[in-house]
């Protein structure tokens, strides 16, 4: 799910969809790993999305985000030059200095070009310039940098990939193909280094990776969404998203997934959970947009009651270019209980469509 859909929406508006060359996400998709870690050019939109919470030994906490998008814009077979725009590659990079109180982010847009950006199953790599995610030796490497910081992480998955939705598709709206193929690696043990303003930090923690591919999934009445990734200390995870409609109601296609400690996943329908906003809001000085930054998360089916907060309210990615949307994506802390037992965790929250309703124009 997530904000990438906004980009997708905008891109769709810009590049008239060529329905012909692309497949839509239909039930019955059979996943094959590691092949499905890489690209699916037959679908128009695809993203690889890693977020994580890490800490130094003495407790200094950071959140990070590294996201790669691919948007198909042309499938003309006659175009052979690497410079021909077949796909556009957008990438987001963010670092939340949760104790230092700073948020850094940048974005990148490229065509594949001669090796500038792309996805290669052969090399086991997704990259955009010198930002990359690569798969090797059963783990994953993330490398990225900008003017403020650089990081390098090694990710080891503790669980097999979790496929969201039902029968291989995550339905997002009414209608055939208004859906995506969506899977996550919900518990990635993370180690690495962050260099921020010339200082090195050795860190470790947990990351979450989403990979989603589809063609044209949303409908015009959907205004935005709130997406939660929750990694709990009892080795279970939750993914929950709620689609807000322009009329203010919650879309019935909102859904989620509960992953138990053994890695078994349970699909959650919209009636299986609730996401309640608190009145606490943070208003962006850059865009003027207000975001609810405190939530109550309840999944009665699994006895989970959580309070969701963030240490750093200003985790807004203010879109710098026409193609990049403005959204809030930030490291979260969760605390509450399962039944009567105390329960804590961390994760990420993404809020979109608060500046203006996303739309297909």
């Amino acid at each position: 799910m997530k904000s990438r859909a906004i980009c997708a929406g905008l891109l769709l508006a810009i590049f008239p969809t060529l329905d012909g060359p692309y497949r839509v996400a239909l039930p019955g998709y059979h996943y094959e790993f590691p092949k499905d870690y890489f690209d699916h050019p037959e679908f128009q939109t695809e993203w690889w999305y890693t977020t994580g919470n890490v800490k130094t030994v003495d407790g200094r906490a950071f959140g990070f985000e590294l996201t790669f998008f691919r948007q198909g814009v042309n499938r003309d077979e006659a175009k052979k030059s690497p410079w021909d725009m077949m796909d556009l590659y957008l990438a987001h990079l963010a670092l939340s200095d949760l104790d230092g109180g700073h948020f850094y982010h940048s974005e990148r847009l490229n065509r594949a070009g001669p090796g500038i950006a792309g996805v290669s199953g052969h090399d086991g790599k997704v990259w955009n310039g010198n930002w990359s995610a690569s798969w090797k030796d059963g783990g994953q490497q993330l490398v990225a940098q900008n003017e403020d910081f650089r990081f390098q992480f090694t990710l080891k998955s503790e669980k097999t990939p979790v496929v969201h939705g039902e029968n291989g598709v995550s339905q997002k709206a009414e209608g055939t193909g208004r859906a995506s193929h969506y899977f996550s690696q919900t518990r990635l043990a993370t180690r690495g280094t962050i260099e921020l303003k010339g200082k090195q930090y050795a860190v470790s923690g947990l990351s979450w990776m989403d990979h989603e591919f589809f063609t044209h999934q949303l409908d015009a009445e959907q205004a935005g969404w709130d997406w939660f990734s929750i990694q709990l200390e009892d080795k279970t995870e939750l993914m929950l998203f709620e689609i807000r409609r322009k009329d203010g109601t919650i879309d019935p296609y909102s859904a989620g997934t509960y992953v138990d400690a053994s890695g078994k996943s349970n699909h959650l329908r919209s009636q299986d959970f609730s996401l309640q906003r608190h009145s606490a809001e943070w208003t962006s000085p850059i865009t003027g947009t207000s975001y609810p930054i405190q939530w109550n998360v309840t999944v009665p089916k699994f006895g989970i009651f959580l309070d969701a907060r963030t240490k750093l309210p200003q985790q807004e990615l203010a879109g710098g270019t026409k193609l990049a949307p403005t959204y809030w994506e930030g490291a979260m802390e969760y605390s509450g209980k399962r039944g009567s037992a105390p329960l804590h965790g961390s994760g990420y929250l993404e809020m979109t469509g608060y500046d203006h309703p996303i739309g297909l124009k």
């Binding site: 590049f15 690497p82 065509r111 070009g113 090796g115 500038i116 010198n130 490398v143 026409k322 193609l323």
Partner: protein, 845 residues
């Protein structure tokens, strides 16, 4: 102070007003000198000083550039993009497009409009207007999309037909961006690769590296990741190298412009001398009344300074006007010989004005110093003594002659010295010494000639004899006049001989160098630093025509060798072997040299290349070709007058090993023996009808070359003309002075029965004698100077071997013209002399 000024005004300035014509001529001479110096300075700055390659449009905010001869393999863009440094990159296609309708050429720049979207939007390195408009992103992907700089004056939506290389294509203007008067046509890189026919390569990658480290650091780090032939250097290095090359060119022109000023200095010297002579009586009185020698000195230099100031004040606006013309001429030279450029605006700054004033006044004061000093030395008694109407200048003929010989010897020595930092400093010094030597020798020569020719002149009539005697009587003044005119004539002769020799050398050289029947090149923008290409297929098709015996393909690349812009070219040497006749330093036959060239990594280099880089036959040079760095042995050196740039030539097969690119820049077509050339031309035109190609016959090409040559030297001719004009004006002024000075003598002559016709003839004869003497001395001195110009200055500045040649027709024409002008310059003084009232002038005393 006020009284001193008043005295200065009355004694020094008022007399000037009493002789408006002579004073006016001197002022105009100074004005012309100052104007020429200023004009050359302004035009030089406009034509070359702000030189910036038009390909540098949209390149600000990058501090490094990556280049490779023949383009960078595009994979390297990915390699650099993924380096673990915070680099911002801008891969570019760079070419030129000729607008079909107006035939104007503009830079064509292909940018990664997606990758640079951020920069484009923020206006960091490129115009933000590029990505406005709802359809901008769709337009990026269209092959016919172009964005135009605002100074082109185009409109969005307009269709424009452009000639790029050897083809023509219609494009649609998708948007206009504010270009800050640096016009360019922008395309997306994918479309630009196709339009230029260079798919798979990019011409340059601009890189912005963090400024936390210096450029050296980044150049080393980035170079280490690239192939050896690929060069990383500071952004704009090419522009900088071209600027350096142009600076040398400007330097030479500037020196040439000072000739007019030097001639002007002679005239000031003359004016002040006359002034001193004529006011000896007044000087005597002033001294007797207690004026110090210093104040006399100050008075006369002050007079000169006033002339200098007025002259400079007139010269400044005049110079500004001349600059407009000069900038066009200079621009043509720069384009033909150095680098294609667009002259900037002419800016008359306060510094230029100030410099011109100081130069004008300075030259005047320096020139006046000697006569002023002499005035200060005059004993009052002698000055006031009656009866000595004529001041007999104390001329030390033999002492001057001895000094002249010493200076000539020094000039000889200086001419043998090597260049200093690539500039022929000693050559110029030798020129100055030679002029000084010549000037010092003039009194002796003049006196000898006049004495010896006495008998001859007597036969021509009493007027001529009197004229001769009169000139001899005022030997010093005569010498100064002859010196001024002779110097101007000498410089004109010298430059005339040099240019004439050069022209003749080029024409002869082309006989051997241009052997083919037809030459073809793309219709796209072509110049000394641009080498658009022809489709290889067309070359093959032409070679296959029945009337064609052979086709030579030449491919040229613009490179930087050792920090100097250089051309590296490769040619088929088959045709040349059959018919060509090239001149090599070793004196070997072309066949022998070309066989050596075909045998491996060997090259021949042009003569200018050897001087620029201090190499010779047998040496090894290292060239970047494609992605490799390869050493080549210099098999021989050949004479080349085609360009001031160095030229490195190799066999096409050698080049292909490193740069497998088949597109030729030029084709030389040889017609089969017995085939009809006109018919073959028709066949070629039909074959090339789909392409935009220019065909030159052998004669066309030579004509064009000579035309370019003449255009190149137009500015030199213009400078010479001004110097001569100044000198001729000096003659007029000086003759007038002679007349006024000899009023009493002329009056006596009338009393003795001389008719006004005889007086007129006498004055005209003096003018004629002056002209003859000056011409003879000038040509002699000019010959000596031309040797320095041709064999020292030219060789050291440009590296061309010029074969000496007398441009008899042009030279004799110019000299006759000057002679006629000097005689004509005598008419007004003659009229003044005739109109003198004998009773009045004699009675005056």
């Amino acid at each position: 102070m006020y009284r001193a000024a008043q005295l200065f005004w009355r004694l020094m300035m008022r007399p000037l007003a009493r002789e408006p014509v002579r004073t006016g001529l001197t002022v105009v001479a100074v004005a012309l000198g100052v104007a020429v110096v200023l004009a050359m300075d302004l035009a030089g700055t406009a034509a070359t000083g702000s030189f910036r390659s038009s390909l540098e449009a949209l390149s600000s905010n990058y501090n490094l550039e990556v280049t490779a001869t023949g383009g960078i393999p595009e994979e390297m863009v990915g390699d650099i993009a993924t380096l673990p440094f915070n680099l911002r990159i801008s891969p570019r296609m760079e070419d030129f497009a000729v607008v079909s309708e107006t035939k104007k050429t503009f830079a064509l720049i292909g940018l990664d409009l997606i990758g640079e979207a951020d920069a484009l939007k923020e206006g960091k390195s490129a115009p933000r207007e590029l990505n406005t408009g709802e359809n901008a992103w769709v337009d990026f992907a269209k092959e016919d999309s172009i964005w135009a700089g605002s100074s082109l004056g185009w409109k969005a939506g307009q269709q424009v037909s452009l000639i790029i290389g050897d083809h023509e294509q219609i494009f649609t203007v998708r948007g206009i961006y504010e270009d800050q008067n640096q016009p360019a046509i922008v395309m997306d890189i994918a479309a630009a690769q196709r339009a230029t026919g260079r798919v798979g390569k990019v011409d340059r990658i601009l890189v912005h590296a963090p400024e936390t480290e210096d450029a050296r650091f980044w150049i080393t780090r980035i170079s280490a990741t690239l192939r050896p032939g690929v060069e990383v250097r500071a952004a704009g290095t090419g522009t900088e190298e071209n600027r350096k090359m142009l600076a040398a060119f400007r330097w030479n022109l500037k020196l040439l412009s000072y000739i007019a000023l030097i001639v002007g200095a002679f005239l000031i010297y003359n004016t002040i001398s006359v002034s001193v002579v004529r006011r000896r009586g007044e000087i005597g009185i002033a001294c007797a009344l207690g004026a110090s020698r210093a104040s006399i000195l100050i008075a006369f230099t002050g007079e000169a300074a006033a002339i200098g100031l007025v002259g400079a004040a007139i010269g400044v606006p005049l110079g500004r006007v001349m600059a407009s013309g000069a900038v066009k001429l200079m621009g043509a030279t720069v384009d033909a010989l150095y680098v294609s450029s667009r002259p900037g605006p002419i800016e008359l700054g306060i510094t230029s004005v100030f410099t011109a004033l100081i130069v004008g006044i300075g030259v005047a004061v320096v020139a006046a110093y000697a006569p002023a000093w002499e005035a200060a030395q005059v004993p009052p008694v002698e000055a006031m003594a009656r009866g000595r109407r004529e001041f007999l200048a104390r001329v030390h003929k033999s002492r001057d002659l001895a000094a002249s010989l010493v200076l000539a010897a020094m000039a000889w020595t200086a001419s043998k010295a090597p260049p200093v930092a690539g500039k022929p400093l000693f050559g110029y010094f030798a020129t100055l010494l030679a002029i000084a030597a010549g000037t010092l020798a003039i009194p002796a020569v003049v006196s000898a000639v006049l004495r010896m020719s006495g008998g001859l002149l007597k036969k021509l009539g009493v007027a001529s004899l009197l004229a001769s005697r009169s000139l001899l009587g005022s030997l010093r003044r005569t010498s100064v006049l002859v010196g001024a005119l002779a110097t101007a004539i000498a410089m004109m002769t010298a430059v005339g001989i040099m240019v004439g020799s050069f022209r003749e050398t080029v024409i002869q050289w082309m006989e051997g160098e241009v052997p083919a029947d037809f030459y073809l090149r793309p219709a796209g923008s072509h110049s000394v630093d641009r080498h658009p290409t022809i489709s290889p297929l067309l070359a093959d098709n032409i070679a296959a025509l029945p009337g064609v015996e052979a086709v030579d393909r030449l491919r040229a690349y613009e490179v930087s060798y050792d920090g100097v812009p250089t051309i590296v070219a490769a040619a088929d040497l088959r045709g040349a072997r059959k018919r060509g006749r090239s001149d090599f330093f070793s004196g070997r036959s072309s066949e022998e040299v070309l066989a050596e060239l075909r045998s491996g990594d060997t090259v021949v280099v042009s003569e200018p290349f050897t001087y620029k880089h201090n190499v010779k036959r047998g040496d090894t040079i290292t060239l970047r070709l494609g992605t490799s760095l390869t050493s080549f042995r210099i098999a021989d050196v050949y004479y080349d007058y085609g360009s001031e740039r160095g030229f490195v030539l190799m066999d096409r097969n050698t080049m292909k090993k490193y740069l497998p690119d088949d597109a030729p820049s030029n084709l030389a077509v040889y017609v089969k023996n017995g085939a009809d050339a006109a018919q073959v031309r028709g066949e070629i035109e039909r074959t090339a009808s789909e392409y935009r190609i220019l065909i030159f016959s052998n004669a066309d090409l030579r004509r064009e070359a000579v035309k370019i040559f003449d255009r190149t030297f137009a500015i030199t001719y213009a400078l010479e003309a001004v110097a001569v004009l100044v000198a001729v004006m000096g003659v007029a002024g000086a003759l007038l002075a002679l007349v006024i000075d000899r009023k009493r003598e002329l009056g006596l002559l009338r009393f003795l029965g001389a008719t006004s016709e005889q007086i007129r003839r006498m004055i005209l004869a003096e003018a004629g004698l002056l002209g003859l003497l000056a011409n003879a001395a000038g040509v002699a001195l000019g010959f000596a100077l031309s040797l320095i110009l041709v064999f020292v200055i030219n060789k050291q500045s440009f590296g061309w071997t010029i074969r000496f040649h007398w441009p008899v027709a042009i030279l004799s024409g110019a000299i006759s013209l000057i002679f006629v002008a000097t005689v004509l310059a005598g008419f007004y003084p003659a009229r003044v002399a005739v109109r003198l009232n004998p009773i009045e002038v004699v009675h005056e005393e």
